[in-house]
Symmetry: D2
Subunit: 282 residues, 4 copies
Amino acid sequence: MTERQSRSPIEERRAHPRGSSGWQTALTAVAPNAIMVRGYHLDELMGRLPFADAVYLLLMGELPTRTIGRMLDAILVSVIDHGVTPPSTLAARNVAASGAPLKDSVAAGILAFGPYHGGDIETCMRFLDQGLSLVRSGRAVQDAAQSLVDDCLAESKTPPGFGHRLHSQDPRAPRLFQLAMELEIEGEHVRMLRAIERALTVRQEQFGRLLPANVDGAIGAIAADLGFSYELGNAIFLISRLPGLIAHAHEERQRHAPMRQIDPKDHVYDGSSERRLPEGRK
Amino acid sequence: MTERQSRSPIEERRAHPRGSSGWQTALTAVAPNAIMVRGYHLDELMGRLPFADAVYLLLMGELPTRTIGRMLDAILVSVIDHGVTPPSTLAARNVAASGAPLKDSVAAGILAFGPYHGGDIETCMRFLDQGLSLVRSGRAVQDAAQSLVDDCLAESKTPPGFGHRLHSQDPRAPRLFQLAMELEIEGEHVRMLRAIERALTVRQEQFGRLLPANVDGAIGAIAADLGFSYELGNAIFLISRLPGLIAHAHEERQRHAPMRQIDPKDHVYDGSSERRLPEGRK
Amino acid sequence: MTERQSRSPIEERRAHPRGSSGWQTALTAVAPNAIMVRGYHLDELMGRLPFADAVYLLLMGELPTRTIGRMLDAILVSVIDHGVTPPSTLAARNVAASGAPLKDSVAAGILAFGPYHGGDIETCMRFLDQGLSLVRSGRAVQDAAQSLVDDCLAESKTPPGFGHRLHSQDPRAPRLFQLAMELEIEGEHVRMLRAIERALTVRQEQFGRLLPANVDGAIGAIAADLGFSYELGNAIFLISRLPGLIAHAHEERQRHAPMRQIDPKDHVYDGSSERRLPEGRK
Amino acid sequence: MTERQSRSPIEERRAHPRGSSGWQTALTAVAPNAIMVRGYHLDELMGRLPFADAVYLLLMGELPTRTIGRMLDAILVSVIDHGVTPPSTLAARNVAASGAPLKDSVAAGILAFGPYHGGDIETCMRFLDQGLSLVRSGRAVQDAAQSLVDDCLAESKTPPGFGHRLHSQDPRAPRLFQLAMELEIEGEHVRMLRAIERALTVRQEQFGRLLPANVDGAIGAIAADLGFSYELGNAIFLISRLPGLIAHAHEERQRHAPMRQIDPKDHVYDGSSERRLPEGRK
């Protein structure tokens, strides 16, 4: 949390002067026949820690509790793919259409996670912290939320983390909130997000439509409550989305002609029809 | 398996002529307020399917069994990071040193997963399939393995998936084999790999050292037994490694001066000292 | 030429053992207040050497003659842009649509210079060298060309560097050949290319259409005659194409809405109408 | 100039509503057997327009005058390479060390043109425009410059475009200024830059050293005087630097072992010794 709130990267660097005997890293120690991630032997972690827990350990430095691990797992699943139309998917598919190797498609896709695509996680985290600093200085939560919303209205902008160009109710957001509640992980950022959602309902007419929290907003709020920095909050999106980029680049190479012109609107889904998880997996 | 063995991508494309009414995709269907991955509603999967299972579903089209899911989870953990010296990590750190955003570091890191770095998974899968086609045409497994090894010796090359520049015994490989055995997932590719390992022991003197299977070989064999295509076998490495690239780029930005000269050999580990998983996590 | 014909990169490395006192580079020496590219002070080159000549110096190690410099300049201009439909341009535009910075769009565009897009320069250079090695072993040039063409026919593939999906006569190729002739730069690779063109005319019926040399073929042949290696022949394409990627990414950011769906076929050109170079520039 | 000064990209987009019959592009029109860049036939430009002029035409929409073309040519040569130590070069070399293809190295290198590396061109352009807006509102040029410098001093930051971590006098900057003067291209941005240079001399003691304009500052000032937007000013750096990235990636692949550990400080230059341009090229 400290990292997110106070010191600039440059101050941070000043606070950590380099020793004279080499530059420092705290992530992974490698020696002949031994690899230790954050102090744990990698081969001990394998088969014992789910990938989501290992991600948390590597990024945050400590093992997550089981509930935090489950929450992160659900977040990773939540944005694993969003079909053929996002710019990241289209960048990956166009690179694949040139015959370039899979990793090149994936790298190009990652480059398309710009401010308008995935970037809302970080922007929303900052937005929620603005609201919380109003609360710190004495405002009631709902007042602070209303004030943030009215500022957005004055600047004719949609608050980051709310509304969706395709979904009037993004189905991933309520599921994440439900899990955060069940796992007792909700904190002040989620509460601020819900307060903003209520404030947006009050101003529904001025915005021209209801703006419920979207998946970026839900991830941003939960990641902030879990103590992720802005940069790492955003990084979760990269990790989650990678399999989707791979699947699209692979499908492009397997099923479509090289150098074809990809019209994102002119596609047909010919995959599995709708189905439900078997009883044993629920 | 078919995909890996028989048709070239171009034949594949010819075999799937495009309909006149749009281009086809079988991955994810998106409609207002609904996102279905391979037919399953994404919000139903969240909190119920570990990330590794969701990755398998997206890439392979069906839910994995629980044991396959656990195996894939262990594979994803196995190569999550390998310290500061691989070219991918150094590419990511050098991009971070320029002040570029995290995603740019990550994309550069992915571009460094070239033939000599991670590429051995795919090369080893092809190598094992060469051995298995000898078996199909009547050779005994150990004979086929010996023949592959002698071919490598004649060309003065190390067989793909064996030996390691740093580890005389890569600790990740035996752990993966142990899990494959416990989970009853071992198949003909793992058996071929073990046969090659034995053949290499016989030829130890000629190679100048023992060449036990490394983590790339173990992943390649197990992924092949799980039915992954060459390209997707390699893709698992990308997914696993992403959090490591993120962690290094983030650490570079937090702890080090911009534009510094990064000497990969001159580093000091100042992270957590060695520790064991708590009892409850074993 | 040697580099292209004989030694593998690995042999090359073996032939250049590293000294004990540091790794070697022969490109640019930098000292306080002095930058020397291939031995020349950079500030002496500025304003005296056209960019194309500086590119040749840096890549090839020596100053080009004036005619070689002019030829390279014409090659660089020849593929500076090809409108909105190539995969590289579309990858760059899709990344720009996410709000990502210009350099990210450009990097993604470069990743889309795959085998089917620009890669024909290198493939054609190799193809011409196949023909020339037939000539070395005693075949007449036109015989060798006919033999290459008949091999392509047997494999139902279009020879690399010939034909174009859009142009029945790529207007850039004859202009490059005209300049190569005027500047007296034509060599055996251009002659082989022209011989193949004639052989294709003979087989026009079997291929179903005329297949004149395209711009990739012309660049490949001329670059080979200038002594470029395969890899550097291909690299010229990257240098030439970069301004086009920049122009498209910049136009996308300036003129179009973020996150729009880019249909490559649905575009309208609203730029300058057709015009001719003023007399003074001819 | 307007583009740089007034409207945000979003306003720009609002000002250009899309027609109903397709999206608009003004760069290059392609028809069967014809390619027109900004209205000129590409094959007419080839051999008649130097690459630098074609770059200007593509990016700015009109042919440059001959003097502007010569100035841009000198700018492109000025940053074509800076040896092995910049992060971009190291990112490209590390990707090459993995065996990845040349274009992947180049893309990774471009990603390392972050705020601290090349980004000063844009930052300096904005800085000079701050000074010029003081002048518009009535301040004398030298007063405005002194005020900018004192603001930097108060924030303990080095003004963008001045000083160099290696060169006490960057040799490229005075050469660019000399050419700008000879070609009569100097305008208000160059004058403001020189005024800031004088103001820095006055404050030499407070800054601890002399801070003459560096090559980024010189390019920024001249590009602004030529009417380049911030984004395109920065883009010139990408175009210029590409051959350097290619040369380093190619040398890495030709001369060094795969997977080697690249220590940027431990290198030896073994290229051509110092030499001068032959008389005919001056």
